[in-house]
Amino acid sequence: MSAKRWKAALYGRGTRRAVISIIVFLVLWELGSRSEAWLGTRLPWIGNVPPPSSVMVAWGALLGDAGYWTSWYLSTMRVMSGFIAAMVIGIPLGLLMAVSRAFYGITFPTFEILRPIPPLAWVPAAIIFWPTQELSIAFVTFLGAFFTIVINVLGGAKSIDIRFFQSAQAMGSSKWDIFRRVVLPATVPSIVVGSSVGMGITWNVVVAAEMISGGGGGGGGGSGGGLGFFIWNSYVGGSYDQIVVGMISIGIAGYACSELLRGMGGFFTPWLRTR
């Protein structure tokens, strides 16, 4: 993007609305949290939440804290390893299920039985089966993205217009050529959708897994066990401002991951950008 377009994007209507949206949200929150001071009575639910101003103060203090950043690092690494494993295994599996009727017949029933099991129900089993805490958390994270990616790839590859195959075949394409130049590109949009949905689930799962398993590897003292453990730890320690900091941190991390995937998805599907 040129400097001019950056400027236009920065001062554009979209940015203005985004800023208004966040400011209005923060003001309402602040007012709600401080309802006892100006209303005389504490509003239900919101009255118990720490106000954004004190959250900001707590956050400012945490920015210099190595433990906080370790939490970021640990959760991100777990999400990434689980997610990348889910892509590496899930995409070929989905494609194989789509192109081979025999393979589909053998794998799909088992797959469909395992799919509805919530990733969190796997946590105890994962802790027993895997040698380290770290591996069990990564495994549960992997499951969160895996099923979504497989089912999207499978659905995408199965719904390819039959005329594409007929044309390709008539023009002299071999099976491998059809797979490479028709099936694969036609499935890329579904891979992108499956991945971004899977990425969202991954963040849900990693946080819960960290809370249940007690933070895993880097645990030790304070907040060294990932963002989920960071929140849990803050709750146990009674620092409610930090709970909210942890929540917002996860929101930001998830948003950044989705943006990254969207950008990569756009790069791999140039023909969809033209609509």
Binding site: R163, Q166, G172, R181, T269, T274
Partner: protein, 301 residues
């Protein structure tokens, strides 16, 4: 006797493209869908010849089995009875010797116009200078040079159809099969397509088999016009449209011969529509009504 392939170079603005024109013969072809009490004969004992180097147009009521017949000729499906012969040899599977241009665009959305056209040559490992030159030559022929690197979604409906014609032609099929290729285009673009398409045909005299429901399109394009019956489909009549080429679109429909052919074809189609109308088909009702109005308008002076 085995059919002798006719090979002759066709001069096309400096470049030569060797055209091999094939011939397709249908002998008592039948196609039944479903089994037992649910069996439905879509095509029954249908025989005709798609003549070498001619543009054969098939017209028939909608839903009469034309698209099924195309799937048989293309080799996507096998007939339940009879034979389909390309140059005397039975058709068993899809092949580049008979390429189909489908009703709606089947261009690959993830490829640019150029990559779409180059699909066939690349599939056969022929991404050489000759193929690239031919792709650019065809792009120019169908007026898409400026849209060489655009994706199908960036092209208009008419451009997509032209790109698809080019994608089929680069494979130099012995027979081009077109299944209502200009359906859904507005009247103006349709006429433009007819002109492009007629010109492409006249320059190559490749064997073409063109299926349509549009009577004007049929009469304007055809060397031979096959009029089909309603299901189960058979050939009702063959009209030779002996109007010299190139045909000027502006004066074509005012010529007596063209109008004769059109009226002849319409009355045959009307009989077919009447049959299916009396058989309870609602689809034919509009055609029957329109035909009766037209008849009244032409007979009253």
């Amino acid at each position: 006797m085995a059919a002798v392939l006719e090979e002759r170079p066709v001069e096309t603005t400096g470049k030569k493209m060797a055209i091999t024109a094939g011939e397709i013969k249908l002998e008592h072809v039948c196609k039944t869908y479903g089994k037992g009490p649910f069996a439905k004969d879509v095509i029954k004992d249908c025989s005709f010849l798609i003549e070498r180097s001619k543009l054969t147009v098939m017209i028939g009521p909608s839903g009469c089995g034309k698209s099924s017949l195309i799937r048989l000729i293309a080799g996507f499906e096998a007939p339940t009875g009879g034979k389909i012969l390309l140059n005397g040899k039975p058709v068993t599977h899809p092949g580049r010797d008979r390429l189909v241009v489908f009703q709606e665009s089947a261009l690959f959305p993830w490829m640019t116009t150029y990559d779409n056209i180059m699909y066939g040559p690349r599939a056969r490992g022929e991404d050489n200078q000759k193929a690239r030159d031919m792709a650019n030559f065809l792009l120019d022929k169908v007026g898409l040079t400026a849209f060489r690197d655009k994706y199908p979604t960036q092209l208009s409906g008419g451009m997509q159809r032209r790109a698809e014609l080019a994608r089929a032609m680069i494979n130099n099929p012995e027979v081009m099969v077109l299944d209502e290729p200009f359906r859904g285009l507005d009247a103006m673009s349709k006429e433009l397509m007819w002109e492009y398409y007629a010109k492409l045909f006249e320059e190559s005299h490749r064997t073409n088999f063109f299926v349509t429901t549009d009577i004007d399109e049929a009469v304007y394009l055809a060397d031979r016009l096959l009029i089909m019956t309603n299901t189960p489909m058979q050939v009702r009549a063959v009209i030779d449209v002996d109007i010299p080429r190139p045909r000027s679109l502006s004066s074509f429909f005012t010529s007596d011969r063209a109008n004769d052919v059109k009226m002849q074809a319409l009355s045959l189609l009307h009989e077919e529509a009447m049959k299916s109308f009396s058989g309870g088909s609602k689809a034919a009702a509009d055609f029957v009504e329109a035909y009766s109005k037209r008849k009244n308008a032409t007979t009253t002076p």
